[in-house]
Symmetry: C2
Subunit: 417 residues, 2 copies
Amino acid sequence: MSNVPGLQLNGAKLLQQIKTLGDIGVDLTQGGRTRIALSDAEKAGRDQVVAWMRELELDIQVDRIGNIFGSLRCASDTGHERPFMMGSHIDTVTNAGALDGCYGVLAGLAVQRAYREAGVLPPRTITVGAFTNEEGVRYQPDMMGSLVYAGGMSVEDALKTVGTDGSRLGDELARIGYAGELVPGAMVPHEYLELHIEQGPILEAENTLIGVVENLQGISWQQVTVKGNANHAGTTPTRLRQDAGYVACAIATELRQLAKSSGTTLATIGCMTFEPNVINVIPRRASFTVDLRDPDESKLLKAEQQLAARLAEIAEEEGVSIETEQLVRFQPVTFDPSLANAIEDSARRFGFSHRRMTSGAGHDAQMIARIAPAAMIFVPSRGGISHNPREHTDDDQLLNGAQVLLDVVQRRLNTPL
Amino acid sequence: MSNVPGLQLNGAKLLQQIKTLGDIGVDLTQGGRTRIALSDAEKAGRDQVVAWMRELELDIQVDRIGNIFGSLRCASDTGHERPFMMGSHIDTVTNAGALDGCYGVLAGLAVQRAYREAGVLPPRTITVGAFTNEEGVRYQPDMMGSLVYAGGMSVEDALKTVGTDGSRLGDELARIGYAGELVPGAMVPHEYLELHIEQGPILEAENTLIGVVENLQGISWQQVTVKGNANHAGTTPTRLRQDAGYVACAIATELRQLAKSSGTTLATIGCMTFEPNVINVIPRRASFTVDLRDPDESKLLKAEQQLAARLAEIAEEEGVSIETEQLVRFQPVTFDPSLANAIEDSARRFGFSHRRMTSGAGHDAQMIARIAPAAMIFVPSRGGISHNPREHTDDDQLLNGAQVLLDVVQRRLNTPL
């Protein structure tokens, strides 16, 4: 890396911080760590990140939905300039890896540290954001902090959200001391960059170091409930069955065919429940989830329409009733081409193998893309595994990603070096 | 019915006893009654049946597996003659109807009562059996009492059975006071007849009063476990998936096709469980049950073989591992043609609409058929519903069935009238 002029990444410090943050909320029996949004463990994680922001003498602000921002202000900034923003989140799922979200926040701090250690101020304010409740484990929807920040949900509605444990989000936010005063979205980024592990198998499978994320799939989540008739498995002729379980399985099977013939659409049935779930009783009720994704909105819509048509058809065939509920719907996001080009240029200069790619997962960047030019940088995930204690990226791959992030930032800001 | 000479059925008493027994173990909140084998509620049911046997001055015997027999002995019987046996069971599933099993036992007592009320002894001893643990809810396998009685399982093994609640069957049997001394099978029936509700929709759908059950389907129960890989629904391309849930659903869908193309084979997937059962995670594990039935052993075998072949094929295609466990396997049973003819003749004489049919459910009669000529009589089940508080057969349909039973018994015994 010595052939690249400019600011120096303190890689050891970045890796140390990832480890330290990863030890907060650690689960010694099940493995991994659990820092569900606005829990005591997540408060401890927030406190640690804020302490590190203080070490860097950042201007720290917390907004009304609990998003934390640490700004390294440029000389001319009186607090109203549009910053170059990096960010992600530090909340986790249950028994998570140490990298999802945290890597992006801490790599942002590493960029600011590079300026501090060089003793230079950036030509534009650089802000690192840690967005509230990206995972959506306890409070729905996920990516809530960045969604509110981008104006996609009102603060009032977000604070009223009731969690899976019956708690009110606003109460929990106040309880842990992170109900700030900044109005979400008051500080509109000039540009936004998010560094993240891929959480998928593509980079590793192709032995590629850097993913230049140029777009993000649209997501459609539906809950489907089929109501049939419970009858005896041995005495009910096939033609007289109203088998809710069969209908659910047939739809799941057909969605795989839909995905295969589309080429880009992904279809996943993650949850499936039968009632009464007894070996010799035809299921009276089957409920399942459908996760459809596509980077092309028209193809995502088509998949949804095909599903709806097929559900209507099979309900008629089998004599069952079917209800669907839309749980989540996000249109595909196209990231800023100029930022994507800058990432690609940087990877090329470092000699890192790279490829253009689509983000399969949802990220805060997709929300911020509503109000500012945004893009993402991916590094490989071993085995594509995430949301799991076995989530892993090699240290040198993590540092490669942070190096590209730092390089892109200093070039976008035209930092004189 | 006055045109049929002979013994008179006390229909009012039969209906009253069905109601009284049905009130034991009643569940006022969920509906129905629950008398799981060898529970306190089932002991109360046994005590009631024994009290009614005493009223009829029957010779009461309990065998080592808890089967209860009440015999109305003919004049010549010193305790060693082969009796004409009727029977069924009085244990129930959870929140059951009042008829399944109980109807057959109490109609048997009604036949004996007809002799008592006429003041005549039968030319051959008539025995009514109430077999232990037909339902198999707490202790597997089901139809255990009749299976042991017919020599298909040793008493010792049966007594050692550990229940879903961790209890040992032998301990529970002793606790409720029904560990008898008679050696199961010591008293081999001359013939066996079981009256039962259809528990299926065929008689009602065809507006037919009496089912002449000439055979009983073979049953194959398997537990199938698919192990794949949990991966992110948004980042894992379809071709890289090892989706245990998809495999389970595809098999369930194909089994429906197998059933349709066979014509006689029934295939039911009653239980289905996904892990981790999360909307955006490809299932790493899916476990489901397969219930296959056919009255023709060669077709049942063929269905099992097709399933096994398809499981091996799809495991290869998707890169998952699949384990199967045989839970239950019974060959089809052909009932005694002479007894079936007698039932048909009787129904015809009464002017009751009737049809030959296959029993889709398992019954104690299939076990006793191993050691004696056996057959069954069915009456309609409203909506085909059983194992449910909504199980129902009209009173006059219940009495029609009992009338046929009484008629067949007295004709088989050549009772002089």
